[in-house]
Symmetry: C2
Subunit: 216 residues, 2 copies
DNA sequence: TTCTCCGTAATCAAGTTTGACTAATGCCGG
DNA sequence: CCGGCATTAGTCAAACTTGATTACGGAGAA
């Protein structure tokens, strides 16, 4: 398992949308997305990912003089060509991979409009097929042997996974429909939707206030 | 977020079912459950959890002479009283916590029969309530402001989460019904279902062969 | 002016996760 | 009897994650 990682995609995508961004900017964007809630987009992970990807040549680091607004000297990053390749590869993988890892899928949805509309649809259809194949495999693998119910309550675990796989497939089909129906603005279709905070814009979802129902 | 951890519950529960177990046994049980697929129950994590919990007094470690069947000297573990407390506390928390963390829930389902039937039902009902509260909070928090659709395709992420929360609630309701309908054997109801490998029994789901649909 | 608090930006140490690796023993064919 | 090879059991370094902490400058209070 352990397919593509959510932070890498998130960080790469956030930097890319800015053209050039420093860690704090990325951190703010991801908070704006709510990604600190539904993925491991915590400060440490973000800065780590930035450095790591810089070391791997996916990002180019520019050391910048102390910022105009206080704080330690900051580093700005830019996505390299290799980074762009990695970005699209991660994005496509994440859309197709059936991992039950919602953070990865969520991240990919956030960037899905970076693809051409038909490609997005194709990938999502592949995703549905993947889920169906997985479902067939699992039910066959875990049920028969000596007839069902040999598993006792353990079977409920499989039940849970299958149920939520079905829900995932259903949601995906809905999304495909909406996209085919013309929703949203995809790559090459004019003014893209920008999901990042403009310089100086306030973050309405800034941390501190916890959404109701969240546990600790 | 970051509620209860799946490995701790899994390891504690596995050791408890054996009465006394060494790491490899636990590792095999969890593989039998498929837990290495749907949770981070990899060897390193298991041995780490064992040592950690021994240090914390939840497990008692017995150093044993080299095993009868080859390999390095092994350590057997036993759950202490404090460990039992932790176990039930983790189990209950995991059943109720609405984290969208399926590994935690799956682990808890595996041990749910360690609770009395009515308590299991009560906890699951609390779980449903929790999901509903979360849902209400999220939809309210992320939708209005300046009317919906301000989010563009980003709204699809919330859509996804809500959709799968609904699926989770539905599954939980189904389970409650089955349990109330008399399914499975719970604590204090006679011969319990044993979900571990007997000494020397072969593991039909031993690793190597990947289930169809799994990615890498 | 000086002190303190706040927002910005990033680092750090402690803990966790990973999967490849080691090591010891028994089994089987030649 | 001896060399591989599978099995059993566990270790380890490298990578990742986390939350607390540091460091800096500016705004306002005293």
């Amino acid at each position: 398992m352990s397919g593509p990682s959510a932070i890498r995609l998130l960080v790469l995508g956030a930097v890319r949308q800015h053209g050039r961004a420093h860690g704090y900017q990325v951190r703010n964007d991801l908070e704006f997305w709510g990604a600190d809630d539904w993925s491991n987009a915590k400060p440490g992970s973000i800065y780590h990912a930035l450095k790591q990807m810089a070391k791997q040549g996916l990002l180019l680091a520019h050391e910048i003089a102390p910022s105009t607004a206080g704080g330690p000297p900051r580093t700005e990053y830019e996505v390299t060509e290799k980074g762009t390749e990695e970005y699209f590869s991660l994005l496509k993988e994440s859309l197709v991979a059936y991992d039950q890892k919602m953070d990865v899928l969520s991240s990919a949805i956030g960037f899905i409009v970076d693809l051409p509309r038909e490609e997005a649809v194709t990938l999502l259809k592949k995703r549905v097929e993947g889920i169906e194949a997985w479902r067939a495999g699992v039910t066959e693998h875990y049920i028969p042997e000596d007839g069902p119910e040999q598993l006792g309550h353990i079977g409920e675990i499989m039940h849970l996974w299958v149920h939520s796989a079905d829900a995932g497939a259903e949601w995906t089909r809905g999304l495909i429909e909406r996209i085919e129906g013309g929703a949203y603005t995809f790559s090459g279709e004019g003014e893209p939707f920008v999901g990042v905070l403009a310089e100086g814009q306030e973050n309405p979802y800034a941390s501190g206030e916890v959404h109701p129902g969240d546990r600790e």
